[in-house]
Amino acid sequence: MSLAIFSFIFVMWILIIIGGGLMVLFVGPLSFSGDGDLDPLINSGLKVFIAMILIFIWVFALLKIKNWIFRKIVKS
């Protein structure tokens, strides 16, 4: 059982590193120009939105992994 949890922690760690890479390489440099003074606010708002989508995908992936671990336990 412990091995499955160790693996789960390891997968979370990998997902954090990949998620960080996506933030730095893609979300960070994004720039949305539009309405002069409102630009920084729009930029930040859209980056927050994209970050939220990334977090949603991260949580979804973890839920799938968690369910897989549980199925494995039930079968064993």
């Binding site: 059982m1 412990s2 760690w13 927050v48 970050a51 671990i69 064993s76």
Partner: protein
């Protein structure tokens, strides 16, 4: 670096010995006033003093005030104030059971000193890829960080010695990471938390003489979260407490709402030889402990040891991550 050594030693000694010396008095005072709770995992009815947050906060605050006298920087003041406010929130929750939303909301306000004193850098640092500047998003992160860390440590406070032992391992790992990143001042602040929690572990370990309660567990979590923010090591700090994050994640994904832990069904029951086994109750939440005993029942001490092994593993991952911070691909 050399000028940091003497203040660091004084602060660490004060953190350790003030908690070590004060906790027995707190235990006696609580027992005298009958402020005790039943230890649910003992065969014989055992009453344990609770909460022990007072000795923890005294140890952390005294050591940080000493550090502040030597280095009057806003970062130390931010940790002092944030931790103290979080302790007050925990104490209110200890004295009067509040709703599930009370703690997250109240703890969010505890992050105010960090924001008002400007004791943060709005760059979020990631391993291998560098950092990203997110000024607005980072302010939201600061506000969320304290409630998340406070509740994460609080949610793992389910067995004798786990919250204090886990905080000791995670904060020692974070201190090593901060020293690797040459952030020595914040590394010393983190060492104060490590030694304060280590001293409390002496009385909290199996069989417990005192429980930290919400005031103790939230103080640990808030101090840890504040250190992560002022040290700019949010990602590393999160990695070091991954087992506790998993516990919260499993709990939230099974309960699907924020509730006070006293309101939920116990996910474990006892065998005839008083080991913990997973409950047959369908609506009980999934937790880290329930995962650990899914295959076979374990004693309270064995579960604690398993959680500490997971904490050491995630601490090692955090240290590896701090080495990766210096590498850009």
């Amino acid at each position: 670096m050399e000028q940091l050594i003497i203040p660091a030693i004084i602060a660490i000694v004060v953190a350790f010995f003030s908690v070590y010396g004060l906790t027995p008095f707190v235990i006696r005072a609580l027992e005298k006033r009958n402020i005790t709770v039943v230890d649910a995992n003992k065969k014989e009815k055992t009453m344990i003093a609770r909460p022990g947050g007072l000795s923890i906060i005294v140890g952390i605050e005294l050591s940080l005030i000493i550090l502040y006298v030597f280095f009057p920087i806003s970062e130390i003041l931010a940790v002092i104030l944030t931790t103290f406010f979080a302790f007050i929130v925990g104490l209110i929750d200890d004295r009067k059971t509040m709703g599930g939303w009370f703690k997250p909301l109240a703890l969010a306000f505890c992050a105010a000193p960090i924001l008002l004193l400007g004791a943060y850098d709005s760059n979020l640092n990631f391993p291998l890829f560098g950092s990203v500047s997110i000024p607005l998003l980072y302010m939201a992160l600061v506000v969320f960080m304290i409630p998340i860390m406070g509740n994460t440590i609080n949610s793992i406070d389910v067995l004798n010695g786990v919250a204090s032992g886990f905080t000791t391992i995670a904060s020692f790992a974070l201190s090593i990471c901060l020293f690797i990143l040459q952030n020595y001042e914040v590394g010393i602040i983190c060492l104060c938390l490590s030694f304060a929690s280590l001293a409390f572990y002496k009385y909290h370990k199996f069989p417990s003489k005192i429980f930290p309660g919400d005031s103790g567990a939230i103080t640990f979590g808030a101090a840890y979260g504040a250190i992560a923010i002022i040290g700019g090591v949010e990602v590393i700090a999160a990695i070091a407490i991954l087992p506790a994050i998993i516990n919260s994640f499993l709990f939230l994904s099974s309960v699907k709402k924020i509730v006070e832990h006293r309101e939920i069904k116990n996910p474990t029951s006892h065998t005839d030889d008083w080991k913990l086994q997973t409950t047959s109750e369908n609506h009980a939440p999934i937790t880290l402990v329930r995962l650990l005993i899914a295959k076979k029942p374990l004693s309270e001490k064995q579960i604690g040891t398993e959680i500490f092994k997971l904490a050491v593993f995630s601490g090692i991952l955090a240290i590896i991550t701090s080495f990766m911070m210096g590498v850009n691909i």
